[in-house]
């Protein structure tokens, strides 16, 4: 554990803020620059930075591989599900206005939040999975 001490201490300090920033970009994408795609990339970067400093095995104890692989498909499923729910509610595919029976604007806002979340989950999962794939090869 003593090797790369400075890197490890700095990474430990940074990772919480990277993940918090990812959540901010995810949730604030409606009001400022950003959105699901950027948030997913930043979220994945947080875990990748941690892997670089502490090794992939250590990271997998926090973020199990089953979770990563589930995230890859979960985001797309969430996105498409929102589309089917809007069809079920009587609208067109991905016509979020019908999600709120009282105010179409609220429905739109809710739909955008949900599909951005789907984008974020998938992107974070895919990028983490790609990095873990490389990391595993490195250990051989």
């Amino acid at each position: 554990m003593s090797e790369h001490l400075i890197v490890r201490v700095i990474v430990k300090l940074l990772v919480p803020f990277i993940l918090l920033f990812a959540l901010y970009v995810q949730m604030h994408g409606d009001y400022g620059p950003g959105g699901g795609f950027q948030a997913g990339v930043i979220f994945a970067t947080g875990f990748i930075v941690y892997s670089i400093a502490f090794g992939a095995r250590q990271t997998i104890r926090v973020l199990p591989l089953s979770v990563v692989t589930a995230m890859v498909s979960l985001g797309v499923v969430l996105y498409a599900l929102v589309g089917f729910v809007t069809v079920g509610a009587g609208g067109n595919f991905l016509d979020y206005g019908v999600l709120d029976s009282h105010d179409p604007v609220h429905g739109q806002h809710l739909g955008i939040l949900l599909i951005e979340l789907g984008v974020g989950i998938s992107v974070a999962g895919v990028l983490t999975a790609i990095f873990f794939t490389f990391a595993e090869r490195r250990q051989k």
Binding site: D30, F37, I42, L65, S73, F93, V105, I115, V123, T133
Partner: protein, 180 residues
């Protein structure tokens, strides 16, 4: 003044690109590509395209560089001397220069940056800008267009990312189910 800044940034990017061509160290090439993306992100910011700039900084300078470094750790650190005979290389140079010249020629026909009469501003863009934030309750017009008006396209994009991810995993994934 802003124009001058963009020109300086573009000159920096051209010199970076030329440096990358000359280099043999793959590590340095990967890092300079990241620097290139970061400068491009600054240029996008100057052009008021903050969402694109954000993506370029996060993807181009951040994650691509990290994945490149991860890939580099599996191969060698420097490339061998360029292969191919002198004739092959001169053909390659001619093809590159001609493609570049054709693109530069085509760019002369493009409307100026911010030109109100440009064809792209004549169709739905005005409606999106006028109605988008009111229709969706989301003030960021880029998010309006990507997530709501162009929801199908974004679903397609996420599917592309998903497909790329499972393709890499199908080809290279070797983790056992217990994480060993």
């Amino acid at each position: 003044m802003e124009k001058l800044h963009v020109v300086i940034l573009l000159m920096l990017m051209i010199s970076l690109a030329l440096t990358v061509v000359r280099l043999r160290s793959l590590l340095a090439i990967a890092i300079l590509s990241g620097v290139y993306s970061l400068i491009l992100a600054v240029a996008f910011t100057l052009l008021d395209a903050v969402d694109v700039a954000f993506t370029e900084a996060a993807v181009g300078a951040g994650i691509t560089l990290t994945l490149m470094l991860a890939a580099l750790s599996l191969t060698t650190r420097s490339s061998t001397k360029g292969s191919g005979s002198a004739a092959q290389r001169s053909v390659a140079i001619v093809v590159c220069l001609m493609t570049g010249a054709a693109l530069a020629y085509a760019s002369l026909e493009m409307p100026a940056v911010g030109d109100f009469a440009a064809p792209i501003h004549g169709h739905v863009a005005n409606r999106y800008i006028a109605e988008g934030p009111l229709m969706t309750g989301v003030p960021n017009i880029v998010t309006d267009i990507l997530a709501s008006y162009r929801g199908y396209d974004t679903l397609g994009e996420v599917t592309v990312i998903f497909t790329a991810g499972i393709a890499v995993m199908a080809l290279l994934w070797r983790w056992r189910s217990d994480g060993k």
